[in-house]
Structures are given as C-alpha cells and as structure tokens.
C-alpha cells in the first residue's frame, strides 16, 4: 500500500499548491496599491506555476513517461506557443501601425 500512499500524497500536494497559487493570484488583483503591470506578471507567473503543478501531480507527466508521449506534449506546447505568441506579436504590431 506504500505506492497508494505516495500517490495519495501527490494528489493532496497538488491540490494544496494549486489552492495557494490561486489565492495568491486573487489576492494580487484584489489588494490595493499593486500596479496593474506588476499584478499581471504575478497572475501570469502563478498561472504557469499552477499548470506545472497540475501536470506533475494530477496528470503524472515526468521523466518516467514514454518518450513519444512526451514528444507529443512538448511539440504541441511548442506549436501552441508559436501560434499564440506569433498572433499576438503580429496583431499588436499591426494595431500599432494603424494609428
């Protein structure tokens, strides 16, 4: 049952870390006197951290995974990054030139 115990702990750690990161993000937005730029960076960082926590603790992605599965996930993340980053870059630039 030690295997079950360790897995149980992993889910608990994942849930607690996710809750803490969510609370931090809400706090930054609701607190007075945090500049908008700073707040956005902290919310973004907390979001990325929480996604990493859940990938590790809930979806069990790690170095033990089969290689082709990891390749699929990493390549999809790269594609999504290129498309999101590229869209925002091009459209912001276009927006700037229209004025």
């Amino acid at each position: 049952m030690t295997d079950a115990r360790a897995e149980m702990r992993r889910y608990a750690i994942g849930a607690i870390l996710s809750a803490v990161l969510t609370l931090a993000a809400f706090w930054v937005v609701l607190a007075d006197g945090v500049a908008r730029g700073t707040a956005l960076w902290i919310v973004g960082a907390a979001g990325v951290a929480q996604i990493a926590v859940q990938l590790r603790c809930f979806l069990h992605i790690g170095s033990a995974s089969k290689r082709e599965d990891l390749h699929l996930i990493l390549f999809s993340a790269l594609l999504a990054g290129l498309m999101i980053g590229g869209t925002i870059w091009i459209m912001t630039s276009l927006h700037g030139r229209m004025h």
Partner: protein
Amino acid sequence: MSGTAHPGLNLGASDARAHERSETPVFGFWVFLMSDLIIFGILFAHYIVMTDARAFGPGPAQLFDLKSVAAQTSLLLASSYTYGMASLAMKHRERIRPVALWLIVTAILGATFPGLELRDFANMIAEGGVPQRSGYLSALWALVGLHGLHVAVGLVWIAVMLALLAVRGLSNRTKTRLLLLGLYWHFLDLIWIGILSIVYLGGLA
C-alpha cells in the same frame, strides 16, 4: 513499475493486463487533448488580440463577478482532486463502490460549475454583453463558452461511466475509459487556469 509508463495515472503496478491494454487508447487520447489545446490556444490568442475591441460596449469591470469566478475555480479544483481519488480507488482498491462514490462527488461539484457559469452568462446578457455586441465579447463568449461546453460533455461522460460501472463492473475496458476521462477532466482544469488568469484576473487587474 513497468518500463513503459505513459503520461497520466498508470495501472502497471496493480493490474499489468489493464495497463497494457490501455496504452494505445491513452496515447490516442493525448493526441486528441493536444489538438484541443491548439483550439483553445488560438481562442486565447484571439481573445488577447480582441481585448481592446470593445466598440464602446461593456468590458471586464461591468461584466465579471469575481466571487462567482472564485467559486467556479474552487469547484473545478476540488472536482479535479476528487477525480484523482476515484482513479486511485480504481487502481488500488479494485471495488466498484468507492470508485462510484468519488465519481458522484466529482459529478456534483462539476455540475455546480455550469450552474454558476450560466448565471454569470445571464448577468452578462443583462448588462448588454451579448456576443454580437463587440469583437471583444465575441472572443469572450467563444473562449469561455467552449470551456463550459467541454465541462458539460465531461459531466455526460461521468454519467455514462457510472452506468457502465453498474452494468459491467471494473472491467479492463471500463478502467481504460476511466483513465481517459481522468485525463480529460484534469485537462479542463488546466484550461480553466488559463481562463482565470487571462480573462478574469487579467481583465480586472
């Protein structure tokens, strides 16, 4: 543990046969999830590009209710955790009752989520925030609406799994399907983190 662990909960240690049988479906399901990720990614990019395209229509400050958003976030996170408990019960206890009970808890938490979301949508409409009002609102409805639709599909899937458990018990095929549903359910929470950070908290910061 077997050497061919796949991303997601592995059954290898407790049920080698079910583990072996689930490998190809789990890989295929990851391909689907990653295609879904691309769709959501494009909708996120679209939303960010459209942030200022309000055409003098309502924006985040008029549309969003952070209390409701906080409740929805807690519900999804809690249901992700309880689904994990259902997976572990399936893997280690091999009895239908605990699996079914955790699934029911997950379904109750999950079903409250669209309830709150629909109320928020009704409030947005009351504020004049209909999809055709501005580019910003079209992007918002497409992104948040697609996520809500995914949650609704997940709820139907949980109901189907409960029926399958009652009829067929914990067969290898049922186990594989429960693994896939687990990946789907946890994936929806990941997308929600993005929506929370970019749409709600980002919009109100």
